[in-house]
C-alpha cells in the first residue's frame, strides 16, 4: 500500500482540527500556533495522540503556517517545523501500528499577483523552504491544504514535487457557492491537480460535510485520483464575536459516510472537529470497502478560474489573434511593451466567444522567454479563458508554463526527436494538453496516413513520460489549397483518421487554407464548416471574423450540439439582412438615429455630447460618405464637440463619467475618420506618452481613465500597467523617445516609488517631462517630489499634453 491509498479499498483516516484544539487549550487570537511546538510541546503532542487514539492513520503536524512568508515567531522556522514533525512522530510511535505524519502546508496568507502583489516565485520559495525542512525532519507525506487560490496551490504543489520525493495530498477550501476565493470551480481544481500529478486531492475547511456532498460528486466524475475530505464541524457561526462550530460527532460521522458513498476514500475533519468526531467517523467507516470506478479520460485545460474541455463530440474556438505573424500593430505593441494593446485583443476575443486564447510573441529580436512570460501573466489578469502557449522555444515554454495559472494548452510538439525530447517532459511536469503537429525531420507527409503515423509516434513517445492520448490535441497541419489542390482533402481525411484510429481530439489553424487566394474570409469560412463536419475539436480562428463565428454557430445548431438553438438565437435575434442584399451578419449594436439634432450642430457632435459611441461612429461614416473631408470632420465636428464637453467638465457642469463617455464616442468617430485617411494626412497621432502606475501600487483605475481620455483625444499612449518599477519606466521612455511620462500612485505608501521614478527619469532623460497624479497627491507634493507637472484629474493631464505637443 502507499500511504495515500489502501490496496484493499479501506478508507484512510486523517485527523481533525488542530487550531480549534489549541484554542481550547488557551491559544489566543493573533498568537502564532506553531510556536507551541517549542513552548508547549506536551499540549501539541497530546492533540496528535488523541487523534491517533480515535483511529487516525495520518496526523497533520502543527506546521500549517510555518512558511517563511507567513511565520513571524521568535524561534527559528527550521526548529519550529522540525519540532512539529518530531511531536507527531512521537505520538505515532506511542500509538503503534502503521501511522503516518504529514507536513502540513497551508497558504502564505498573501495574495499572489494579479489579485495581490506577491510573486509566484516568492510563494514557491516560501513553500520550498518549508518542504525541505519538513522532509528532512522526517515527514511521510506533504499535505497542501486550505488553498483558496489555484495559483498559490500550484506554487505549493510544485515546491513539494521539486523539493521532496514524498507523496502529495492537496485539498482546497471552497466557498458555499462551489468556488475558491479567486473563483475556481471544482473541475478547474481537479484538472490542475491531476496535471501536476498529485497523489490525492479533495476539499477541506469551508463548511460542514453535508454541504460538501455536491462538490464530492462533481469531483468524483472529474478525476480518477483518490478523493480526500476534511470538512468543518458545520458552518462557522459567530457567537459574541467568537467563531463556534455546532455539528456533533454523530451527525458529522453520518454525513462523512455519505461523502465516502459518493467517492471519498480519505476522510478527516477540519475546524471545530475533535477526537470525538474522528472516533465516530472511524467507527462508522472502519469496515467499509470502496472501489472507485475510473473516469473516462477527457481533455481539459484551465485558467485560474475556468475549466474548458476540448471536446471529442463538439467543438470550441481558439482565438488566434495574439500572434504577431502578419500583424503590424501587434508586432509594434510587443516591441514597445504596450501591454494594453495586447490586453484589448484578449478581451475582444473573449467577448466575441473564444474559448481558449493563443498567445504567441515571436518577434525577431525580442527576448521571447521574458516577453512570453510577462504577456501570458498579463493576459491572464484580464481574462478567465485558458491560454494556448504558442512558442517553439523550449526555454520560453518552460518559463511561461511554470508561471501560468492553471493547466495550459501547449502549442506545440512535433514528430522531430529534438522537439519531443524538449517539450513532452515539460507537459508531463507542469500538466497541460499539448498540440501535436504532424511533421518531423522529413517534413510534412503529403498523405493522410503519413500524418497519422507521425501523430502515433508522438503519442507513443508521450506515453514514455506518462502522457495519455487525451493529453494530446492533434493538428494535421493546414496547407494552402492554392499550392496543392488536394490539400483540403488530405487534411479532412487525416482528421477523421486521427479521431477514428487514435481516439484523439484535433485542432487546426483554419485560415492557412486560403493563402494566396482572393476573398480569403469566404474560403476560410467554407473550409471551417467542412472541417467541423469532419470532427474538428478546436478551430484556431479569428473570433472577431463574423464569417467564422457564424460557421461555428451554424454547425453547432445544425448538428444538435446547440440543442435548443439557444446560442444561435442569442447571437442573431437582432439580425436583419443588409440593405444591399449582401446578407452578411453584422455585429450587434447597430446604431440608432442620433438624438435631438440641435440646429446648426452635426449629428457627430450630438452623438459625442450624448456619449453615444456607435451613433458617433455611424454619423462620422455618413458624413464621409456624403463627401465631407476627413480633416474637416475632425476639426469642425469631433474636436469642437469634445471641447464643449471638456469645458463643461472643467466648469463642473459635466461629470467625469459623462466626459469619458463623450471622449469614447469621439474616439470611435475619430477612428472611422482616421481609417478613411491616407497615412500622414495631417491627423498624425500625437505622442507617444508613456504612462504607468508606480511600483508597489496595484490600484490603476486613475491611470486607466487617463489612458482612455488621452487616446480619445488622439494621443498615442504606451501603457506599462501597474506596479511598474522605475527602471522599466525609464527603459520605455528612452526607447520610445517619449517627451511625456505620466505616473499615478494612490497610496501614501507608494508615493516614495513615484519620487524615485521621477528622479531617475530626470537624471537619465532630462528632456522628458513627468506629470503625476493620484488620490493622495497635491500640487505642492508633486512639486516636492520633483515632478514637472501635477494632473489634478484626467482632463488636466490631457490639457498639459496638448500644451506640450502643440
Amino acid at each position: 500500500m502507499s500511504i495515500i491509498s489502501h490496496d484493499d479499498g479501506r478508507i484512510l483516516f486523517l485527523d481533525g482540527g488542530m487550531g480549534t484544539q489549541l484554542q481550547a487549550k488557551g491559544l489566543q487570537p493573533g498568537e502564532v500556533p506553531e510556536l507551541w511546538n517549542i513552548s508547549r510541546p506536551a499540549d501539541v503532542r497530546a492533540v496528535h495522540e488523541a487523534y491517533f487514539a480515535a483511529g487516525a492513520d495520518v496526523v497533520y503536524a502543527n506546521t500549517f503556517g510555518a512558511n517563511p512568508a507567513k511565520y513571524h515567531g521568535d524561534a527559528p522556522l527550521a526548529d519550529v517545523i522540525a519540532a512539529g514533525i518530531a511531536l507527531a512522530r512521537e505520538a505515532a510511535a506511542n500509538a503503534g501500528g502503521r501511522r503516518f505524519v504529514a507536513l502540513d502546508v497551508g497558504p502564505t496568507g498573501r495574495l499572489l499577483k494579479p489579485a495581490g502583489d506577491f510573486e509566484f516565485d516568492a510563494a514557491y520559495d516560501a513553500f520550498a523552504e518549508q518542504v525541505r525542512i519538513g522532509a528532512k525532519a522526517g515527514a511521510d507525506l506533504v499535505v497542501v491544504e486550505t488553498m483558496g487560490d489555484t495559483y498559490e496551490l500550484k506554487a505549493a504543489v510544485l515546491a513539494a514535487k521539486e523539493n521532496s520525493t514524498l507523496p502529495i495530498l492537496a485539498t482546497v477550501a471552497f466557498g458555499e457557492d462551489g468556488k475558491l476565493l479567486t473563483g475556481a470551480s471544482v473541475e478547474c481544481v481537479a484538472a490542475l491537480l491531476e496535471g501536476l500529478r498529485v497523489d490525492a486531492l479533495g476539499f477541506n475547511c469551508g463548511f460542514g460535510p453535508d454541504r460538501m456532498l455536491p462538490f464530492v460528486k462533481r469531483l468524483a466524475v472529474a478525476t480518477s485520483l483518490p478523493i480526500a475530505v476534511k470538512p468543518n464541524a458545520g458552518l462557522p457561526q459567530v457567537n459574541d464575536g467568537r467563531t463556534v462550530f455546532t455539528v456533533g460527532p454523530e451527525e458529522f460521522a453520518r454525513d462523512i459516510s455519505a461523502l465516502a458513498e459518493a467517492g471519498a476514500s480519505i476522510v478527516g475533519g477540519c475546524c471545530g472537529t475533535t477526537p470525538a468526531h474522528i472516533a465516530a467517523v472511524h467507527e462508522s467507516l472502519e469496515h467499509v470497502r470502496k472501489a472507485r470506478s475510473t473516469v473516462p479520460p477527457r481533455t481539459v485545460v484551465t485558467s485560474g478560474s475556468r475549466a474548458v474541455e476540448i471536446p471529442f463530440d463538439d467543438t470550441i474556438i481558439i482565438g488566434e489573434r495574439i500572434n504577431p505573424t502578419g500583424k503590424k500593430k501587434l508586432r509594434a505593441a510587443l516591441t514597445e511593451g504596450d501591454v494594453a494593446y495586447v490586453l484589448r485583443e484578449a478581451v475582444a476575443q473573449s467577448e466575441a466567444g473564444a474559448h481558449i486564447l493563443d498567445v504567441n510573441v515571436g518577434v525577431p529580436g525580442l527576448d521571447e522567454p521574458s516577453v512570453l512570460d510577462a504577456t501570458v501573466q498579463a493576459v491572464q489578469s484580464v481574462t478567465d479563458l485558458p491560454l494556448q502557449i504558442d512558442t517553439s522555444d523550449p526555454r520560453a515554454l518552460e518559463r511561461a508554463l511554470r508561471h501560468y495559472n492553471g493547466k495550459a494548452l501547449v502549442n506545440s510538439v512535433n514528430g522531430k526527436e529534438e522537439s519531443m525530447a524538449a517539450v513532452l517532459p515539460l507537459v508531463a511536469k507542469y500538466g497541460g494538453a499539448v498540440v501535436a503537429l504532424t511533421l518531423d525531420e522529413t517534413g510534412i507527409p503529403p498523405t493522410a496516413d503519413g500524418r497519422v503515423a507521425i501523430a502515433k509516434k508522438i503519442l507513443a513517445r508521450g506515453a514514455e513520460y506518462g502522457l495519455k492520448p487525451s493529453d494530446f490535441v492533434v493538428d494535421v497541419l493546414c496547407l494552402a489549397v492554392s499550392a496543392d489542390a488536394k490539400s483540403a482533402n488530405v487534411i479532412l481525411e487525416a482528421m477523421r483518421k486521427v479521431r477514428g484510429e487514435l481516439g484523439c481530439r484535433t485542432c487546426l489553424g483554419v485560415s492557412n487554407i486560403s493563402f494566396g487566394l482572393p476573398a480569403r474570409p469566404l474560403l476560410n469560412a467554407a473550409f471551417y464548416t467542412m472541417a467541423l463536419a469532419n470532427g474538428l475539436s478546436a478551430g484556431i480562428v479569428n473570433p472577431l471574423a463574423a464569417d467564422m463565428t457564424t460557421a461555428f454557430r451554424a454547425f453547432r445548431a445544425l448538428t444538435a450540439k446547440d440543442r435548443t438553438c439557444s446560442d444561435w438565437i442569442a447571437a442573431f435575434t437582432d439580425w436583419a439582412p443588409a440593405a444591399s442584399g449582401n446578407n452578411h451578419p453584422t455585429a450587434p449594436g447597430t446604431p440608432s438615429p442620433a438624438k435631438a439634432e440641435a440646429e446648426g450642430e452635426s449629428a457627430i457632435s450630438t452623438a459625442i455630447r450624448h456619449g453615444l459611441k456607435s451613433d458617433a461612429a455611424a454619423a462620422a461614416k455618413t458624413a464621409l460618405e456624403s463627401g465631407a473631408k476627413p480633416l474637416d470632420v475632425i476639426n469642425k465636428s469631433i474636436v469642437p464637440a469634445l471641447e464643449i464637453v471638456g469645458k463643461g467638465f472643467e466648469s463642473g457642469r459635466v461629470f467625469l463619467p459623462q466626459l469619458l463617455m463623450a471622449a469614447e464616442a469621439a474616439g470611435a468617430a475619430f477612428e472611422v475618420v482616421r481609417s478613411a485617411m491616407p497615412a500622414h494626412d495631417g491627423a498624425a497621432v500625437k505622442g507617444p506618452i508613456v504612462i504607468a502606475t508606480v511600483k508597489g501600487d496595484i490600484h490603476d483605475i486613475g491611470k486607466n481613465i487617463c489612458r482612455a481620455l488621452l487616446e480619445n483625444y488622439g494621443f498615442k499612449v504606451i501603457d506599462l500597467g501597474r506596479d511598474v518599477p522605475p527602471e522599466k519606466v525609464l527603459e520605455a521612455a528612452r526607447r520610445e523617445k517619449a517627451r511625456l511620462v505620466g505616473l499615478s500612485a494612490l497610496m501614501t505608501t507608494t508615493v516614495c516609488f513615484m519620487e524615485e521614478t521621477v528622479k531617475l527619469l530626470h537624471e537619465k532623460l532630462p528632456d522628458c517631462k513627468v506629470t503625476v497624479g493620484g488620490a493622495v497627491l497635491t500640487a505642492d507634493y508633486a512639486a516636492k517630489i520633483g515632478a514637472d507637472h501635477y494632473s489634478k484629474d484626467a482632463m488636466g493631464l490631457v490639457r498639459y499634453a496638448e500644451q506640450l505637443f502643440q
Binding site: 487570537p29 498573501r110 479567486t182 459574541d240 494594453a340
Partner: protein
C-alpha cells in the same frame, strides 16, 4: 446585496445628480455583471481595551491619538473586516481594458457595495451587543493619525487572510481592493 444608481453616482463624484440616458443604461448593465462577480465575506471579533490597547497573542493595537479620542470611554471594541472578494477585482481589470468609462463606473459600484457591506456588518455587531451597549462609528487605519501599519495587527488579530481572504501587500494596501477593516468601539449607556 445590491446598490441603486444614486449610491453609485455618489462614488462617481456626480454630486447629487443621478445618471440618466446612455450612462444610466451602462451603469445598470455593469451593476448586474458586477453583482455576479462579488463574493461578500465578513468577520469580526470583540476585544477588551486595557491600558490603552487591544492586546492578544503577543500582538498589540494601540488605542491612542485620533483613534483614542474617537473611542474615548470605550472599554471594549470590535475589530471588523469585510470584502466583496477577489473576483470583483478580476472583473474590474477586465472592463478597464476596453473602456475608461466602464472602469470608472465599476470602481464606483465596488465602492458603494463595500460601504453597504460594512454598514451591515455594523448592524450585525450592534445586534450582538449586550443590553445598554452601543457601537461607535467605525474607524479605519489611515483615518486621522491611525497609522496604515496598524492594518497588520488588525488583520492578524482577525485571522483575516484565512477567514475572509483579505491580506496586505508590502505597501500596506488591502487586497482584494474592495475590502475595509475597522475598529468599532463599544460604549455603555
Amino acid at each position: 446585496m445590491t446598490v441603486d444608481l444614486a449610491e453609485i453616482a455618489r462614488y462617481m463624484r456626480m454630486d447629487r445628480s443621478v445618471p440618466d440616458g446612455a450612462l444610466a443604461e451602462r451603469v445598470a448593465k455593469l451593476r448586474d455583471d458586477a453583482l455576479k462577480a462579488i463574493r461578500p465575506a465578513q468577520t469580526w471579533r470583540r476585544f477588551p481595551i486595557a491600558e490603552g490597547a487591544i492586546a492578544s497573542g503577543g500582538l498589540r493595537l494601540e488605542i491612542c491619538g485620533t483613534l483614542g479620542r474617537h473611542l474615548a470611554g470605550c472599554r471594549a471594541a470590535c475589530l471588523a473586516c469585510g470584502t466583496i472578494g477577489a473576483e470583483f477585482d478580476a472583473f474590474q481589470r477586465r472592463v478597464s481594458v476596453s473602456s475608461g468609462v466602464d472602469a470608472l463606473i465599476v470602481q464606483a459600484i465596488g465602492a458603494a457595495l463595500i460601504e453597504k457591506l460594512m454598514d451591515r456588518l455594523e448592524d450585525e455587531i450592534r445586534a450582538n451587543l449586550a443590553e445598554g451597549e452601543s457601537p461607535v462609528s467605525r474607524y479605519s487605519p489611515g483615518y486621522g493619525d491611525f497609522p496604515l501599519a496598524a492594518q497588520r495587527v488588525v488583520l492578524a488579530l482577525l485571522d483575516a487572510p484565512r477567514k475572509v481572504g483579505v491580506s496586505l501587500t508590502d505597501t500596506l494596501l488591502m487586497v482584494p481592493s474592495k475590502s475595509v477593516s475597522a475598529v468599532i468601539g463599544i460604549t455603555k449607556g
